[in-house]
């Protein structure tokens, strides 16, 4: 006979759901507004999204406060797990989204922003990512992952160009494959341990001393494949440049940051206990993946002729660099991962926004793609301010001090040094040197070549054609974050380290 389910509402700890529910409510509200009165301007939806994200941010502050007092929180039948990792990554997700969404307020009209559904999907996607990072239940992670991914595919397709459809379909197919890998991997772990909670899986495997190592490896391979796709680790990266090229520059910048931090957090939860159990095979494979991803992506980036594709490969390389943190697996390396990603999000969003404000509707003859290198030649003569700003972002991406990414880089390399990975530290350093070449290539075009005639005539109007006050403000934020990162670094580092350490990573 079934006994009546008797759960007190307090034990559910529903407050843990608040940060995810806020964007969901926001998305529903946007849909309702559209039903009541259609044809409203995009600015309304942009501001509404920002407001809901701000509320979300407030809820996160609240949980951060609770976490620093009481430690890890569980909720909703222990499915939700609010620890330091979840909180920091949600901060990154929400803040980056807040910086991204005003990029919809462009000067030129773009198809996708005229649909309120775009903003609703955007908020659903954020909720999905938030669920993904705030759980160690493999099923909830899967649900969050798919919610976010399906929304993202649609957002890309809404850009409404041939290449965008191609990108969306490509991303969708690859994503479906990754989802298949993921569910198969989860199944193997469930079959092995009878649990879908990562900490339970770890405990059971620990207890029987990894007796079924063969099956564990099958599960790990599946999971590696799945997260390889999501993190665009070589050789699972093939979709990345095409998808970035097909989506708008703003979207590409967003995709290089937010989905990846969510995947990093899950990968950290999943692989870290295996690394600490000294499964040599996983260490070797991860080591190889990290090195190959960094190096190969850098090589490909060198030969690109389009700035956006170059940045796509560069973001693959950065992801590989950061993957090293999971391999090293110390508190310092995990903090370095978050620090790096926070600094990276400012710089990369800035770089992609600079591409976004120079987006044309029709391409002149000398330009084969939206953002070919030739487009930027001699930019210093026609619009010096924009050239200097773009140059700053490139120098930061190359890891030149004192700009933002340099600090992330030294902390990451230092964590490799302290973790005993001397050769890896050297490889990471040398890869930064290789990467220097292609970032420099854009600087060479901007500062050392002569401008193309038509650009001189219209006084560099091209580079800011799409700019509005909102976009310029976002770029201003990105610059402040990039140039003055060292001011906030100490408190940032302490905050991140404390949160990572207190979550037991």
């Amino acid at each position: 006979m079934l006994s009546p389910v008797n759960v007190s509402l307090e034990s559910l700890n529903l407050i843990t759901l608040a940060p995810m529910l806020i964007p969901v409510i926001g998305a529903l509200l946007i849909l309702v507004i559209d039903i009541i009165k259609g044809g409203l301007d995009k600015s309304l939806y942009v501001v509404l999204s920002i407001l809901f994200l701000a509320l979300d941010f407030g809820a996160l502050l609240e949980s951060a406060g609770v976490f620093s007092k009481e430690g890890i929180m569980l909720g909703v039948f222990d499915v939700m797990l609010i620890d330091g990792l979840a909180i920091i990554s949600q901060f990154i997700i929400v803040v980056t989204s807040m910086l991204f969404i005003p990029l919809a307020l462009t000067n030129k009209r773009f198809h996708e922003f005229s649909y309120p559904e775009f903003f609703a999907l955007f908020l659903f996607m954020i909720a999905g990512f938030q669920f993904m990072v705030a759980s160690d239940n493999l099923i909830l992670i899967f649900v969050g992952l798919e919610t976010a991914s399906l929304a993202l595919y649609t957002l890309i397709a809404m850009h409404n160009r041939d290449k965008s459809f191609e990108a969306a379909v490509k991303y969708f197919t690859m994503g479906a494959l990754a989802a298949g890998f993921y569910s198969f991997g989860s199944m193997v772990f469930y079959a092995l341990t009878g649990s879908i909670e990562i900490n339970q899986i770890a405990a059971v495997l620990e207890a029987n001393n990894y007796a079924d190592i063969g099956f564990v490896l099958v599960g790990v391979v599946m999971m590696l494949g799945s997260f390889g796709f999501k993190l665009s680790v070589v050789p699972f990266h093939t979709w990345t440049p095409d998808v970035y090229e097909g989506s708008s520059a703003a979207m590409a910048g967003y995709m290089s940051i937010v989905p990846k931090i969510a995947a990093f957090v899950v990968a950290m939860r999943l692989f870290e206990f295996l690394i600490h159990a000294h499964i040599v095979w996983l260490e070797v494979v991860l080591y190889a993946l990290v090195v190959i991803t960094m190096t190969a992506a850098n090589m490909w980036a060198i030969v690109q002729t389009d700035v956006k594709r170059m940045l796509a490969y560069s973001s693959i390389s950065h992801a590989g660099f950061v993957m090293a943190a999971i391999l090293i697996g110390t508190t310092q390396s995990n903090s370095a991962l978050f620090l790096y990603w926070i600094l990276f999000s400012f710089t990369n969003l800035g770089a992609f926004s600079m591409l976004w404000i120079s987006r044309q509707k029709e391409l002149p003859g000398y330009q084969k793609t939206d953002h070919s290198f030739e487009k930027f030649s001699g930019m210093i003569k026609t619009s010096p301010m924009a050239a200097i700003i773009m140059g700053l972002f490139m120098l930061s991406l190359a890891g030149l001090p004192p700009f933002a990414l340099f600090w992330g880089k030294i902390y990451m390399i230092s964590s490799a040094v302290t973790g005993g990975y001397t050769v890896l530290a050297l490889i990471m350093a040398l890869n930064s040197a290789i990467a220097g070449y292609y970032y420099l290539k854009l600087i060479v075009f901007m500062f050392m070549k002569d401008p193309i005639e038509s650009n001189v005539d219209n006084n560099g109007q091209l580079y800011v054609a799409n700019a509005t006050t909102a976009l310029k403000t976002i770029i201003g934020f990105a610059i402040i974050g990039t140039v003055f990162a060292f001011v906030a670094l100490d408190s940032l580092l302490e905050f991140v380290t404390a949160f990572v350490y207190n979550s037991g990573y």
Binding site: L400, P402, I410, S414, F447, M448, F486, D490
Partner: protein
């Protein structure tokens, strides 16, 4: 104000550079000269208030930057860095003042002011990361200077310069992170402060690896023999002002860093690597001298001779005794003055004829007597004539190394004599004989603007050649402290032997006096 004079020296030019965006294009050179003159006056004031009797750091500044990771903004000067800072501000001043008209001169002057910030920052920084920040940042203005105002191959040259140095310094950065980690292991605190690192005694095996990592970064910057290939391109393509600053100041960053980092941090490794490095230095002296002899372009002759003299600086540094190191620091100043002046002189003739090929010239002594005189003086200084500034430095460097190895010193000495051959040949080709090329017949002699830069340099060349004490005194004082530190820190017997005990010498001298 004296408490923060180093910060002011570093950030004043950068601030002025930002403000420079508001200045009208026509008035830009006057503005740049004024800023650089103020900066030079400040650096002279620094010298004036510098206490010559103190061997340690002065005008220290300390500000927390990222204390939880041991990174702090620490500045200070001692006798080793003081004169290089003065030289950096001096060369920026005369460089801007004598700038020949070029396109987008406003951008050029702003770039130079930023470059000045990074140069002074490198020599004043006492925290490894702050040092690294300025060290790397100095690449960017130089990249732009060469790439935007250079010759036909400017883009190749500038990118090669950037990537070469960038790669080397990243390896050095890994070395720095290791050093900080060892410090953390020994003390439980993260620190990148150089003065903290001085207190850390490392086992010899660690020293060797770290020395190699730092060496990679420094050697590319100097540039030492197998890593020198970027320099002829950079010099060949750079505009005059770029070559002047590159030769006079930027190359000194490498040799300065050897004295600031490698020697006191890794005394055993320094002794271990003394001979290999000395041999590299001698190859560098002889090989580049031979290459210089084969050049057709005046600027390349000067560039290769500049590399050749950098070899002597390295040799002096790795003599590991007071004479050698003091001599090499003095030679850094001398080399800066002389090769800076030579590049300016090449720029003078290039502005008139837009060619640097020696075959285009001949008999210029008849047409431009004043130019020929100054060129002759600088050339004599460059080959190390007694009573010129270079002689003092070269002599002391070789004297220092003579105590370590007689044969190698002899080789280096011969190579310096060989250096005279290519320089004199070049001088003969350009200045003596009949005027063969009609275009040269009516060239104007050096103008007032050019003299503004050349005369002070000539005066310094002779003055410090005859009476080097005002500069050599403070240098010597600080070097003694460094050598003593190395001697105390050395762990191996060999190193204790090779690095003299300075205070011991002083004590024995006083003991002798008492004995009398």
């Amino acid at each position: 104000m004296l408490d923060h004079i180093l910060s002011i020296l570093i950030f004043f030019p950068a601030f002025a550079g930002v403000m420079g965006f508001m200045i009208n294009k026509e008035s830009m050179r006057a503005y740049g000269t004024a800023v650089a003159a103020i900066e030079f006056a400040l650096s002279l004031w620094l010298w004036f208030s510098f206490d010559n009797s103190v061997s340690g750091m002065q005008f220290m500044e300390h500000m927390a930057l990222i204390p939880s990771f041991g990174i702090n903004y620490i500045l200070g000067v001692d006798g080793i860095s003081l004169f290089i800072i003065i030289m950096a501000s001096f060369f920026t001043m005369i460089g801007i003042a004598s700038l020949s008209p070029a396109h987008s001169i406003k951008n050029m002057i702003i770039t130079l002011l930023f470059l000045q910030m990074t140069m002074i920052g490198v020599f004043a920084a006492l925290d490894a990361i702050v040092f690294y920040v300025f060290w790397e940042l100095s690449l960017v203005p130089m990249l732009y200077l060469i790439g935007a105002w250079g010759g036909p191959l400017r883009i190749y040259a500038s990118v090669k310069f950037f990537l070469y140095t960038f790669t080397g310094s990243l390896v050095m950065l890994v070395g720095m992170l290791f050093m900080a980690y060892f410090f953390y292991q020994a003390t439980g605190v993260w620190s990148f402060a150089i003065l903290d690192w001085y207190r850390l005694i490392l086992p010899e095996s660690f020293q060797l690896w770290l020395f190699a990592a730092f060496f990679f970064g420094f050697a590319i910057k100097v540039p030492m023999f197998p890593f020198h290939t970027w320099l002829p391109y950079a010099h060949g393509q750079a505009p005059t002002i770029g070559s002047v600053i590159l030769a006079a100041v930027l190359l000194k960053m490498g040799t300065y860093a050897f004295i600031r980092f490698s020697l006191p941090l890794f005394p055993d490794a320094s002794v271990f690597f003394m001979y290999p490095i000395a041999i590299l230095a001698i190859i560098m002296i002889i090989y580049t001298a031979m290459v210089a002899y084969a050049q057709k372009d005046i600027k390349q002759v000067v560039a290769y001779s500049s590399v050749s003299h950098m070899g002597v600086i390295i040799l002096g540094t790795f003599a590991l005794n007071v004479e050698g190191i003091s001599g090499s620091i003095f030679l850094m100043i001398a080399h800066g003055v002389v090769s800076g002046a030579l590049f300016l002189l090449v720029g003078v003739i290039y502005d008139r004829r837009h060619t640097k090929l020696m075959s285009e010239f001949g008999g210029l002594a008849h047409v431009m007597p004043r130019y020929a005189t100054i060129f002759g003086l600088m050339l004599m200084a460059s080959v190390g004539m007694p009573l010129t500034i270079n002689f003092v430095g070269e002599f002391l460097s070789l004297l220092g190394f003579y105590q370590q190895s007689h044969i190698l010193t002899l080789l280096a000495g011969i190579a310096i004599v060989v250096g005279a051959i290519y320089m004199l040949t070049a001088f003969k080709k350009i200045f003596f004989g009949e005027v063969t090329n009609e275009k040269n017949r009516n060239l104007p002699d050096v103008s007032k603007r050019e003299l503004l830069a050349l005369i002070p340099l000539s005066i310094i060349t002779v003055w410090l050649g005859i009476y080097p004490k005002p500069v050599l005194g403070p240098i010597n004082n600080s070097v003694e402290a460094v050598v003593q530190l190395m001697h105390n820190k050395a762990t191996s017997h060999e190193a204790k032997m090779r690095i003299p005990n300075v205070s011991g010498v002083v004590i024995s001298k006083t003991a002798m006096k008492e004995g009398h």
